[in-house]
């Protein structure tokens, strides 16, 4: 594992590092550049796709290399993993490649941890080698850690609690915007989860093509415009882009609808239409395969007592805590934050005290959308996919309903509970169907406490 950043394309390293340092400070001090291990090797000539296959022996805890497995790169050729489980394929030019692990060549008992990620679509950019990951497990295949066959051990409970906390924190960032938009406008925004996907995909675009390189004719520009940038500035700009989208959606679609007196039900149907439109637009632009960011994609997990966590997850979790605390203090301490809560509480009353409600709503859209976009970046550290938002839509709604639709803190509490419940449920049920727990939470909440944990007990029928 290397700990240095590598020059990419034409940008001067010193300048780039200066920008990164600046952004690191802006991002909130938690980022220690040394923590974040880049995976690429600087390469002068033809780029390579590489990786290594191994699984963890559950008794000794050692990584066992998997030898002689066929890896196929479409249009290039097939190689087998060597004695260390490593493989390398030289590709002729930068571009998109489909990498397939030939499942039949895996040894008996070894399976892909996530069969959905095979074949994997990967993007090779200029002058950089590309690592691809095929996590393997001994025993039954399944999403994120296999089935319940592992039994209930203290170690597993601890690991799942951390996973749940991680998912809950990211979910909370996505859910707060949804809850506040509902609180201030009464609108249930079904397109909110698409903003999460938008965040991860636009960040992927910045990461690989620079800030302007996604627009075809601007691609020849030097970095950071026409050439990829490091993930950290890319994520920051992804968050800003998310805020811009939030502003545009409100300004162009929903504010005119509100002032034209379009009913809330019709607006709800509009958000559904918007969500399908955005989702398939992203499929059209991004393609159907799962991809990973160009930086920090291949990291070895650290063992911290009973749990294992990659450095990037540790940083992202820390950052999301900081951001959520920041959001809470913003809501508590600033004028705008108080105005947001006032409008969410009682719109007419807030308006009569002189609060500019439309301005508050604009703020809610912008901040909610940029938080959702950033949560997309954090989720995207594992995998970037065009329908990711829709996959977590159920979880987001379960979280805001459980916490109390319309309350910011409710969304936070609900998201943490949902994240923990889902992940800990894999102690008893297959990981494949763990999201069903979220539906259960949703239905039970509506049966027994429909206003949610933190919602006010008013009649909502």
């Amino acid at each position: 594992m290397t700990t240095t950043d590598h020059p990419r394309g034409r940008m001067q390293p010193s300048r780039r590092q200066r920008i990164i340092r600046l952004l690191v400070v802006l991002a909130g001090s938690l980022l220690v550049p040394g923590l974040l291990a880049s995976s690429a090797h600087a390469q002068e000539d033809e780029p390579e796709i590489f990786g290594s296959l191994n699984y963890e022996d559950s008794e000794s805890g050692e990584d066992v290399p998997v030898v002689g497995v066929a890896i196929d790169v479409e249009g290039v050729g097939t190689v087998e993993t060597d004695d260390n489980g490593d493989f390398r394929v030289v590709v002729p030019e930068p571009g998109d490649y489909v990498v397939t692990l030939v499942v039949e060549s895996l040894p008996e008992g070894v399976n892909l941890r996530n069969p959905d990620n095979n074949p994997l679509l990967t993007t090779v950019s200029e002058n950089r080698d590309r690592r691809v990951l095929f996590p393997l497990v001994l025993g039954e295949e399944g999403e994120g850690g296999g089935s319940t066959s592992g039994g209930i051990t203290g170690r597993r409970v601890a690991q799942l609690t951390v996973e749940g906390l991680k998912q809950g924190l990211y979910l909370a960032m996505a859910a707060i915007g949804l809850s506040l938009i509902f609180g201030t406008t009464g609108l249930v925004n079904f397109a909110h989860a698409e903003l999460v996907t938008f965040g991860m995909i636009i960040t992927y675009g910045f990461n690989f093509y620079g800030f302007a390189g996604m627009i075809g004719f601007l691609a020849p520009l030097p970095g950071p415009f026409g050439d990829g940038v490091n993930l950290i500035p890319a994520a920051l700009f992804g968050m800003i882009a998310g805020g811009v989208i939030g502003y545009v959606l409100n300004r162009v679609i929903f504010r005119p609808a509100r002032s034209a007196g379009v009913s809330l039900i019709a607006q709800l149907v509009m958000t559904i239409g918007l969500s399908i439109f955005l989702r398939y637009l992203m499929l059209y632009l991004f393609g159907g395969g799962p991809r990973t960011f160009g930086d920090y994609s291949a990291q070895r997990a650290w063992s911290l007592g009973p749990i294992e966590l990659t450095p990037k997850d540790l940083v992202a979790m820390g950052l999301s805590v900081v951001i959520l605390v920041g959001v809470a203090s913003y809501l508590e301490l600033t004028r705008m934050g108080k105005a947001m809560r006032a409008v969410a509480d009682n719109r007419e009353l807030a308006e009569s005290t002189g609060i500019d409600v439309e301005r508050v709503i604009t703020f809610v859209w912008v901040s909610g959308a940029s938080l959702a976009a950033l949560s997309g970046v954090f989720f995207g550290l594992d995998q970037v996919k065009w329908d990711f938002g829709f996959r977590i839509l159920l979880l987001v709604f379960a979280a805001v309903t459980l916490g109390g639709l319309g309350t910011a803190y409710g969304a936070l509490v609900g998201a943490l509970v949902v994240g923990l419940a889902i992940n800990l449920s894999t102690l008893f049920i297959d990981a494949e169907v763990k999201n069903m727990v979220a539906l259960l939470i949703l239905v039970v909440t509506l049966l027994f406490r429909p206003q949610g944990i933190l919602g006010k007990a008013e009649r909502i029928g």
């Binding site: 039900i265 019709a266 439109f277």
Partner: protein
């Protein structure tokens, strides 16, 4: 460019199986949303319930096809009860959240690998509809032509049965909605408190509407899989629900024939555009491929984008649909 071919395809679609299936599901949604004002965003879940009710009975229990039909209907009713009981007392958007979540959960559940023996998991179920095709009076592979329309015998049999069911369903809904029950249902949609003050149990009216609409969608799901000859979990994806919504709003919610008209307009438009783009001469086709990378491969993605955009614009500017009346408009606040 072969205009004759394009129009022939488009015309054949007008009475084709897609129109029947989507119109029937939209008749169900019309009962729920158009007449009762329920925001059911999980119609595809009811279709899956019907299809798997039929499939599981034949595949796992190894009972006959006809008992399977009964089970398909039962499953749809049970699903309506499960989703309706906790939510129908609450504000309208809670039903939307729960139904959209449930329909996706059903898809995950039936493709769960531990359900392999019951639902076939990701491989699905095949060869369950022989009993239905044995009754067909048409030759299996013979092509029948009626003027510009031509269908294979197998499809013609499904179509015939499908249209009979669809017209019966429309007739049933029309009769019901002019009955006292239907008028009470509409009054619940218009003003629930007023209906309750008059002694009507709004909760039960809404639950009954959800069940009736669910059963119609369940039958639509069965028709679809019988025509396909196989049941695949992933065909029951959420886009189907949203397409049904687009169809209903296109035709105008709360009107008897709007689902059929909406489905015809939607599918003719889709088939026309697809065939038009496929038949483009090389010049314009290459231009589209070079500029926006549009090809036969991703044309269906464009279609779903149009569904979304259409739904957005209709809900915004013409919530009563193209032919709907403002009086029956269900996209109103309550």
């Amino acid at each position: 460019m072969d205009w004759g071919f394009i129009f022939e395809r488009t015309l054949s679609t007008m009475f084709g199986i897609e129109v029947v299936v989507f119109a029937l599901a939209a008749v169900g949604l019309n009962v729920q949303f158009g007449y009762a004002g329920l925001l059911n965003f999980g119609q595809v879940g009811f279709m899956a319930a019907g299809a798997y009710g039929l499939g599981v009975t034949v595949f796992w229990l190894e009972w006959s096809f006809w008992i399977g039909i009964v089970f398909g209907i039962l499953y749809s009713i049970v699903l309506a009860l499960l989703l309706g009981l906790p939510t129908l007392r609450l504000r309208a958007d809670y039903l939307a959240i729960v139904t959209i979540a449930a329909s996706e959960t059903i898809r995950l559940f039936v493709r769960w690998r531990r359900m392999k023996e019951v639902t076939g998991a990701s491989e699905g179920i095949g060869e369950f509809a022989d009993a239905f095709y044995e009754l067909s009076p048409f030759g299996e592979g013979v092509r029948y032509e009626f003027g510009p329309f031509s269908y294979v015998g197998r499809d013609l049999w499904v179509l015939l049965v499908g249209w009979v069911i669809l017209l019966l369903a429309v007739l049933l809904v029309w009769r019901l909605m002019s009955s006292p029950w239907g008028r009470a249902l509409k009054s619940v949609r218009e003003d629930e408190d007023a209906a309750r003050a008059l002694g009507k149990n709004a909760y039960f009216y809404k639950l009954q509407a959800l069940m009736l609409g669910g059963v119609l969608a369940g039958i639509a799901g069965m028709l679809q899989v019988v025509q396909k000859g196989s049941i695949q979990a992933d065909t029951f994806n959420p886009v189907i629900t949203f397409t049904i919504w687009a169809i209903l709003i296109l035709g105008g919610p709360g009107r008897t024939f709007s689902p059929i008209i909406g489905a015809m307009i939607y599918w003719c438009l889709i088939v026309f555009v697809e065939n038009f783009l496929r038949q483009l001469p090389e010049g314009p086709a290459d231009f589209l491929e070079d500029t926006i990378e549009l090809s036969v491969l991703n044309i269906s993605q464009l279609r779903f984008m149009l569904v979304g955009l259409g739904l957005l614009l209709l809900a915004r500017f013409r919530p009563q649909g193209i032919f709907g009346s403002r009086e029956e408009m269900a996209l109103d606040d309550r």
